[in-house]
């Protein structure tokens, strides 16, 4: 494991400069380096042989978590450890902390970023599925200065694939403010905090009587990558988070998904994980929406 020759290393201070450098090389030959916790593996194994590395560490506009009345904005370079330390995350987005807190290990959390994780979109990952259930908006900037916003549902295409153009940088992820809303994420891996064999994220919004008016459920660890589970979402809507209904929703999801068998778990085990994790995560999301924790 050692990188092939790299010709150029740059450390721009603005996003405009970063996309400019990208444009000087044919597609894929210049790459962004965020926390490096995925891409360095690819570079060292020579799965990727970039000619130019564009290090994003000095771009201050990509950093910081801003919470205000409209919602929250996380810069693409916000690290897992920054999310864990953010005391003011509203319950609607508590799943971000659930996920970030258990990524890998301390050293990985000190480096890895939410933007890097979403742009890499590895199938066994935590943040893409979490951002998906939370309904984030991805903010992109193109080399010609064009800015666009994209729903996370459209951004995440499949394992290691996103709708980000070769000439684009992810600048931030936005989440709209939401009242009486709670979310939660949990994964199961072979070791504590290992990559998810299955991960489940749930977000629910309640009306004044505590009935669910909107639900988003996502799964990670499945071969098709981070995905929503619309069948189960419909079951949760109208409920007050009764255990029986939550179990019904996740039994249906486990039945409907294409859960692969591999060296980590067989299909039946993955389905069981979806049922078990789903019950815990949905119960916690309802509790948070009610303001319980």
């Amino acid at each position: 494991m050692y990188p092939a020759v790299i010709e150029e290393y740059v450390r721009p201070t603005t996003v405009e400069d970063a996309v400019d450098v990208l444009g000087r090389y044919p597609g894929g030959e210049a790459i962004f380096l965020a926390g490096g916790q995925s891409v360095m593996q690819a570079i060292k194994s020579r799965m990727m042989r970039p000619r130019c590395v564009i290090d994003l560490q000095d771009i201050s506009s990509l950093k910081g978590i801003a919470v205000n009345a409209d919602g929250i904005r996380l810069g693409a370079m916000v690290r897992y450890v920054d999310i864990v330390r953010c005391a003011e995350l509203p319950p609607a987005y508590a799943a971000l902390r659930d996920a970030a807190q258990h990524v890998g290990d301390r050293q990985v959390r000190n480096r890895g970023t939410i933007g890097g994780s979403c742009c890499w979109n590895y199938l066994a990952s935590c943040l893409p599925a979490t951002v998906l259930a939370l309904g984030g908006t991805m903010m992109l900037l193109r080399q010609d200065g064009h800015r666009r916003e994209m729903a996370v549902d459209d951004f995440l295409i499949g394992p290691l694939e996103t709708a980000r153009g070769d000439d684009e940088i992810l600048t931030a992820i936005h989440f709209k403010a939401a009242t009486r809303t709670g979310s939660a994420y949990q994964k199961w891996g072979l070791l504590k905090d290992a990559l998810p064999v299955v991960g489940v994220c749930v977000k629910v919004s309640l009306d004044g009587d505590g009935r669910c008016i909107a639900a988003r459920i996502s799964l990670s660890g499945l071969a098709a990558g981070a995905q929503r589970a619309p069948g189960g979402e419909i079951v949760l809507v109208g409920s007050a988070g009764e255990t029986g209904i939550i179990e019904k929703a996740f039994a249906m999801i486990a039945e409907q998904v294409d859960a692969q068998s591999d060296q980590w778990a067989n299909s039946a085990y993955r389905q069981q994980l979806i049922r078990t994790l789903g019950r815990e995560v949905a119960t916690r999301a309802f509790g948070r929406a009610r303001g319980e924790s």
Binding site: M1, Y2, I6, Y9, K44, D55, R106, V108, K192
Partner: protein
């Protein structure tokens, strides 16, 4: 090639390095600080190469040396003040927190930051903090003992010293 300036354990190193050079190799081969180890052929999973970058534990095989340009690194050589060991180092010695010692520098660098952030951890928190460091000898029990002891020593030291 690129010329970089990195402060390691308070000393400034200026070197011209290939861009593809990993930080761990810069530390070991250019700066001669071989206390930082490589145990997993740079796969990023063993934690033996853990150093502190601006005070935070990171795996130095997961960075290019050029990324550390302008930054401050602390390696295991930077912990003790002459022959004055830190409370954590002393605790490792007292509690047999090491056998072959290959994993130890990485664990010290991680746990030193860990204790700064969480001076009175529970055993569960210590074990959770150690996930990124593999030890093939101790079974971790004595490592956990050492970290727990250092957390108390640090507290007493704080009281004694006012």
């Amino acid at each position: 090639m690129k010329t970089i300036q990195v402060t390691i354990n308070g000393e400034l190193y200026q070197e011209t390095v290939p861009i593809r050079m990993l930080l761990v190799d810069f530390i070991r081969e250019r700066c001669g600080l071989t206390g930082t180890h490589v145990a997993c052929t740079y796969e990023g999973v063993c934690g033996a190469c853990t150093v502190q970058l601006d005070g935070e534990a990171i795996k130095s095989c997961m960075l290019l040396a050029v990324q550390a340009d302008g930054h401050r690194i602390t390696t295991v050589e930077g912990l003790a003040n002459g022959s004055d060991l830190t409370p954590l180092q002393t605790a490792f010695k007292a509690h047999h927190g090491l056998q072959c010692g290959f994993c130890t520098p990485g664990i010290l660098m991680n746990m030193t930051e860990f204790l700064e952030k969480n001076p009175e951890p529970t055993d569960d928190e210590i074990r959770y903090g150690l996930i990124g460091n593999l030890c093939r000898c101790t079974g971790y029990v004595h490592i956990v003992d050492a970290v727990r002891a250092a957390s108390k020593v640090a507290k007493q030291g704080g009281q004694d010293g006012g």
